[in-house]
């Protein structure tokens, strides 16, 4: 038995979404998103809850949750820096930005700072090739990145 429960807002959203699809299995991704926004990540416990909601096995949920790179299967830092590393951003100097971030934060890509404030991830093409280099800070895009812009941002977030 899982101890996880949707909050009321998500319960209502779930019910409203049920009306919009021919089969409730379509609610897999929406449900996992709701879990992640509610908890910050997706635990095995929450997956069992989703499985019960959708009438499938917990393994089915795990299989999907582990396939998509945006689903977080463990907790991360408060500020999730997702630096794009793909070609157009690479041509615009993403590697330099990566090194700078690693030095300033004292972590490697894929790691979280000890105080739990920052997680640095390298991600594939964000679709901001014309405004590269680019990163996401949690859900927000920050484009046309420069070292100065990055420093100012880290300064602000470290306060």
């Amino acid at each position: 038995m899982s101890t996880f429960l949707f909050n009321q807002d998500n319960e209502e959203k779930f019910s409203a979404l049920l009306e919009r699809y021919p089969d409730k299995s379509s609610l897999m991704l929406p449900s996992l998103w709701m879990v992640q926004y509610q908890e910050g990540w997706i635990s095995l416990d929450a997956m069992q809850f989703v499985a019960k909601k959708l009438g499938c096995s917990a393994m089915d949920v795990y299989s999907v949750a582990s396939f998509y790179s945006m689903f977080l299967l463990q907790p991360i830092g408060t500020h999730h820096i997702q630096l794009c590393k793909t070609l157009s951003c690479m041509l615009a100097g993403a590697k330099t930005l990566q090194e700078h971030l690693q030095n300033r934060l004292g972590i490697k890509a894929g790691e979280t700072t000890k105080n739990g404030k920052f997680t640095l991830s390298l991600v594939e093409c964000l679709g901001s090739c014309g405004t590269s280099p680019c990163m996401r800070l949690n859900d927000d895009y920050i484009e046309n990145l420069t070292l100065e812009k990055l420093d100012a941002l880290l300064e602000e977030l470290s306060k």
Binding site: R20, Y21, P22, D23, S25, S26, L27, M28, L29, P30, L32, W33, L54, S63, V64, F67, Y68, S69, M70, F71, K85, T86, L87, S88, M90, L91, V123, E124, C125, L126, G127, S128, C129, G130, T131, S132, R136, D139, D140, Y141
Partner: protein
């Protein structure tokens, strides 16, 4: 040089709100739409020669015709907004600046195929654009433009935004449908003959954002007006995204047939910092690379790019100057493909990794002549032995990098 059919309202402040959008002609096609039969709408789109703008370039009208007539099952329209092909950033412009154009196109197209529910599958990273689109949809519902009895007519349509979660392969239409059904994004086997797509076993059309956003113009102005641009086989316009080392990167709407050189040197202001051009990837990273000396006569249309051994793809051009290391570019892309292979087919899952591994070795100065053979053997393994076109595309691009820039790889080996 630019022709603004789809991007007409991009620079109008607040054109993403219903009030401004309506003042600038949005939803005007609906009045005409409901005087036409669904079949006549499909015929108009068919005659316009509208081709899919997500990469494949399939004929849109023909796709719509695959929906069975008098189906006793519900019919669905699914919009592919899973824009993830490296070098491609055009659909987000429509979502950001003119979401009502997309909604209008969805109504036109759904009416034509007999769908009463449309889904827009947007990549998970596009949170800002998802919110913008959802606001536009909410406004349309409140104004009676979506829902039951659209603008008083006997036609109902619902639109639902579905958020992806970070998987490049979900831009492949059958993987997208699997994902929409709540599963891993694994592409489906292709049927032997022509048939529609299937969403929970129901006949479905999957179209790209820009394709559907091109429909209102065709309904409003007629197919001949659309055919006035471009060429016989590539009619109309496309949003071309230019990135990399040019002075003015961005998205430009151009008629098919525009000179590639002119776009790069005039519209985009030439190569950054006065350097020389080395290479261009013309249609998103999954098409063959072109050397600077190959682009002289190229025009931006399906035929010309095909004749020059590449593809128009998504129209996302990545421009590289003389100082770029092609082996590093290839390595960057193979990290991408290795990461994004869905893993369903062994040749793709392992092959992309092998090539990535060999490239790492070459770049570390530990390559040998034997490595060329290993890469080309891997290409042979990638091509034609998998469920979807991911692996064959990767094989073709790998061959093009090795063949066209072999001396750069040789330098690293010696």
């Amino acid at each position: 040089m630019m022709v603004k059919l789809v991007s007409k309202n991009f620079e109008i402040p607040n054109a993403h709100t219903l009030e401004v959008a309506r003042n600038y002609g949005r939803y005007a096609s609906l009045e005409k739409l409901f005087t036409m039969s669904p079949d006549a709408v499909t015929a108009e789109v068919e005659k316009s020669g509208l081709r899919g703008k997500g990469g494949g370039g399939a004929a849109t009208g023909e796709k719509w015709r695959l929906i069975p007539k008098n189906s006793d099952k519900p019919i669905y329209l699914v919009i592919n907004a899973d824009e993830g092909e490296p070098g491609t950033f055009k659909d987000r412009q429509i979502l950001e600046f003119d979401p009502h154009l997309l909604i209008e196109g969805i109504i036109d197209s759904s009416y034509a195929i007999g769908a009463h529910h449309a889904y827009i599958y947007v990549r998970g990273e596009y949170v800002f654009w998802i919110n913008r689109l959802q606001n536009a949809i909410d406004e349309a519902y409140a104004a009676g433009i979506l829902g039951e009895n659209i603008l008083g007519h006997d036609y109902a349509l619902h639109v639902t935004v579905h958020k992806g979660a970070g998987a490049y392969i979900c831009g492949e239409k059958t993987a997208l449908l699997e994902s929409l059904e709540g599963k891993r994004g694994h592409p489906r086997l292709k049927p032997k003959g022509k048939e529609p797509e299937w969403f929970f076993g129901n006949p479905t059309v999957v179209n790209n954002v820009e394709t559907i956003a091109s429909v209102p113009y065709i309904i409003n102005e007629g197919y001949e007006a659309y055919r006035a641009y471009g060429s016989a086989e590539s009619p109309g316009t496309m949003l071309f995204g230019i990135s990399g080392q040019v002075e003015r990167p961005g998205v430009y709407e151009l008629p098919y047939g525009t000179s590639m050189k002119e776009v790069i040197y005039t519209l985009c202001g030439g190569i950054k910092n006065g350097k020389k051009l080395k290479a261009i990837i013309p249609g998103g990273s999954s098409v063959q690379i072109l050397r600077a000396d190959e682009i002289e006569d190229i025009t931006l249309d399906y035929e010309s790019l095909k004749a020059h051994g590449s593809s128009l793809g998504t129209g996302g051009m990545i421009v590289m100057d003389e100082e770029v290391s092609i082996p590093e570019v290839m390595k960057n892309l193979f990290e991408f493909y290795h990461h994004e292979s869905c893993g369903q087919c062994t040749p793709c899952r392992e092959g992309t990794g092998w090539v990535d591994h060999i490239l790492t070795k070459i770049l570390a100065g530990k390559g040998t002549q034997e490595d060329f053979k290993i890469i080309l053997d891997a290409c042979d393994m990638l091509n034609g032995k998998t469920i979807c076109v991911f692996a064959p595309s990767v094989a073709f691009i790998a061959q093009s990098y090795i063949q066209k820039f072999r001396e750069e790889f040789e330098t690293l080996i010696q």
